[in-house]
């Protein structure tokens, strides 16, 4: 019967049916995803138990039992967290010791970052080409806004602090490391032995040592290496070593991008008669940089997190502001609250950036296919 000649007409085709009840809907999903075997069931129960232990206590501590107003820690009488310092101190966390009547300059510099970055990250947007000139000018604009001179009141860099300091050092490091990283990446692929050796040496040295040692170089050694009469701001020196550090990582990211550009591109450019620099500038680098953007964003995320290390050489980034605040008798013992706040800030910023870079990577992958 089931092996004899057989046929069905179009009109006799069987209709679709719903799946058996136990395999679909909520029940089906639960069975497949939470209780699919004895091990899975045990894990689910253990997970639920852990959640039950943590979440209510966490919510109580952070919100329901917490104090939100007050002038010092003695005003926080409940058993939960003490957020009373937030009102008073939030400016310090954000701007450090920047004069409060001038903080509008920092805000504007941050806002201008959006039109400066957008044409680089979203190259299909309207007006991107023209905005890119602004992107090039932005570093100078931002420096002018932050430091002052030419009509704006001068603010010395030792007043930089808080998140503003982290963002400034991080952004400056990444932006400045881009051209240097490109040069190093090209140098590493060069056929000239000395150039290649120097590039490899630079990259390996700056990738091989902890950032902390480089910060010590900035704080203690650079003044020794520079002429006795010439003194540089500590923040500037930190930016210099952070840039060198970032350049090494950037060079590796761009090297990956250069390798991802198909060999045919190099060959076609050479066949057209383009010399080395024209080939790189007009054909290869634009493609390589576009491919490298996710890696560049990842490098920036890492660098941004690493900017907290400046606490070790006495700069007042956001972590240090928190630390000094809780050694003040007014706010003694509130270390956990400040750490939670700072964690959340970093988490939000870094997580969004990493989501963006994952999204970019997926987009780049599909366009290649």
């Amino acid at each position: 019967m089931t092996s004899q000649p057989f046929f069905r007409q179009q009109s006799e085709l069987l209709p679709e049916r719903a799946p058996p009840a136990a395999t679909i809907g909520v029940v089906g999903w639960l069975r497949a995803n939470l209780f699919s075997g004895w091990l899975s069931t045990v894990l689910t129960l253990a997970g639920l138990y852990v959640l039950w232990l943590i979440i209510p206590n966490l919510l109580d501590w952070a919100f329901f039992d917490a104090d939100f107003t007050g002038d010092d820690r003695f005003a926080c009488t409940s058993s939960g967290a003490c957020w009373a310092w937030f009102d008073q101190r939030i400016d310090q966390f954000l701007y450090g010791f920047y004069p409060s009547e001038q903080t509008w300059r920092v805000n504007i510099a941050l806002l201008l970052l959006i039109p400066a970055l957008a044409p680089v990250l979203f190259d299909k947007m309207p007006g991107a080409k023209r905005l890119r000139w602004f992107s090039l000018a932005y570093p100078f604009v931002a420096t002018f806004l932050l430091i002052g001179g030419f009509g704006l009141e001068e603010v010395p860099t030792n007043k930089f602090g808080g998140f503003m300091l982290n963002v400034t050092v991080g952004l400056a490091g990444i932006v400045l490391s881009l051209p240097i990283g490109i040069v190093l990446a090209l140098g590493r692929r060069s056929r000239m032995p000395i150039v290649r050796a120097l590039s490899v040496a630079f990259i390996e040295v700056f990738r091989g040592v902890p950032l902390i040692t480089l910060l010590f170089v900035a704080a203690i050694l650079l003044p020794i290496f520079l002429p006795p009469s010439f003194s540089l701001d500590l923040v500037i020196r930190v930016i210099v070593v952070v840039t060198a550090f970032a350049s090494a990582y950037m060079a590796e990211v761009i090297r990956g991008g250069l390798q991802a550009v198909p060999r045919g591109q190099y060959e076609a450019a050479a066949a057209l008669g383009l010399g080395y620099w024209k080939m790189m500038g007009l054909v290869v680098l634009p493609q390589a940089l576009k491919i490298s953007i996710p890696g560049i964003v990842n490098t920036f995320i890492g660098l941004f997190k690493d900017t907290t290390l400046v606490i070790v050489i006495g700069l007042f980034d956001v972590l240090n502001i928190g630390r000094t605040m809780v050694s003040n008798p007014d706010w003694l013992g509130l270390a956990v609250e400040t750490q939670v706040f700072i964690s959340i800030f970093f988490f939000v910023v870094c997580f969004s950036m990493s989501r963006y870079s994952v999204h970019l990577e997926q987009r780049l992958d599909t366009t290649k296919r």
Binding site: A32, N33, L34, S36, S40, L43, T44, G47, L48, V50, L51, R191, M192, P193, I194, V195, L198, E204, V205, R207, G208, V209, P210, L211, I212, T213, F216, V217, I220, L221, P223, I224, F225, L226, P227, P228, I301, K305, D306, T308, L309, I311, V312, L319, R323, A335, V336, Q339, I342, S343, F346, F347, C350, F351, S354
Partner: protein, 393 residues
């Protein structure tokens, strides 16, 4: 007919357009420029050092240190030399790095494999752990755990786990093993057990290949290691005692103390690096295409065997290079110990630097040590990659 052309001699223009000459010229210029820069820095340095009255050189290593170190693996006192202090610091760095690497690997592999299970809840929970730990600066995490550990009750009010483990704001107090007479034999039999297990393992494999009969090597191996060791242990009257910490009025007597700095640094590094490792493990296992396990199942291989012979060998090729990078990152991140007072290589170096004023030498030593670790790891990775690469045409 001979052509009377330009003499094939030395022309300045040819240097400019000959690509070999041009590249040679360029490199000479680069070297000269670099030399000038270095000379500039050296001149400044000499001038500055003279102004401060400092002697360059590593002679200060034999000067007395005059400071104490509370966490040390070898003998050291304030009468020891700077050189010895730096060695203590280096050992501390290696200690926390080794412990951190072991813990991070365990956490990372467990988390990575669990996240691959089809349990939605566990996958999400581990995802939260990974994303949170990866996006918060590691320094913040180190300080956080240290705040928690130093916020524990005072010694007099220590928390206790069981009756032998005590947690307080000075660290973790745990029983110290006392090796009595005869423990040496227990250790010997343990080692012999391992050797025996290895030998039996090889024999069993050869037998399997020869006759096709599999051998329950896992159980036999465990038995060979554990059973003789236990027998000797009990036969010799249990030659292992524990120096259990006892409370005195203000402190503890006995046992040994692990400082909160070490515990906090170790735990923070382990959880931070573990998050990255879990993603590496997950990506590695996912990189093996589904068809591989389907083909293995179609041949009749059970899941355990498929994992062992097909999935894991291919996944490890993808996992090991980034894994060694993470190990190196952990070692470099251990230098953040200075922020919480764990006396690692950088922290002690900083003290030496402050006391002796020989900043250049100390920083140079730092660089050399960490660079050696980095380059050693890169060399290993290159060797591993070339050794294990899949053969293709």
């Amino acid at each position: 007919m001979a052509v009377a052309g330009a003499p094939a001699g030395f022309e300045l223009r040819r240097i400019w357009s000959d690509e070999r000459a041009r590249s040679a010229l360029f490199q000479i210029l680069v070297v000269l420029g670099l030399a000038l820069l270095v000379a500039f820095f050296v001149a400044n340095t000499i001038a500055n050092l003279q102004a401060r009255g400092l002697d360059p050189g590593f002679g200060f290593f034999s000067d007395q240190a005059f400071f104490d170190i509370n966490q040390k693996l070898i003998d050291y006192s304030s009468q020891s030399t700077f050189g010895r202090a730096l060695v203590v610091g280096l050992l501390n760095t290696l200690l926390v790095s080794a412990l951190g690497i072991i813990a991070a690997t365990v956490i990372g592999f467990v988390a990575g494999i669990l996240r691959l299970s089809n349990n939605w809840l566990i996958g999400r929970l581990i995802g939260v752990y990974v994303e949170f730990t990866r996006n918060v600066p590691v320094l913040l995490q180190i300080i956080f755990w240290w705040s928690i550990l130093t916020g524990l009750p005072k010694v007099a009010d220590s928390l206790s786990i069981g009756s032998a483990l005590f947690l307080n704001n000075r660290g973790v107090r745990m029983p110290a093993p006392i090796l009595e007479n005869g423990f040496g034999w227990v250790a010997i039999f343990f080692v012999l057990g391992i050797v025996a297990a290895l030998i039996v393992g090889r024999w069993a494999h050869r037998r399997h290949m020869a006759t096709g009969q599999p051998f329950p090597m896992l159980w036999v191996g465990l038995g060979l290691v554990i059973v003789p060791t236990l027998i000797v242990y009990f036969a010799l009257g249990q030659p292992l005692d524990w120096d259990v910490p006892e409370r005195t009025r203000f402190n503890f007597r006995g046992g040994f103390n692990v400082t909160p700095e070490l515990v906090a640094l170790w735990w923070a590094l382990a959880t931070y690096t573990g998050a990255f490792i879990s993603e590496i493990v997950r990506a590695g296992i996912l990189s093996v295409s589904k068809g591989q396990s389907e083909a293995a199942h179609a041949l009749g291989l059970r899941p355990g065997l498929t994992m062992r012979k097909i999935i894991i060998p291919q996944a490890l090729r993808v996992i090991i290079p980034p894994l060694t990078s993470q190990y190196l990152n952990l070692t470099k991140n251990s230098s953040l110990a200075i922020a919480i007072g764990y006396q690692d290589f950088v922290s002690i170096g900083n003290t030496v630097l402050n006391q002796s004023g020989q900043a250049i030498e100390v920083v140079a030593i730092w660089m050399v040590v960490y660079l050696s670790l980095s380059l050693g790891t890169s060399a290993f990775m290159n060797w591993y990659n070339s050794h294990i690469a899949l053969v293709e045409r």
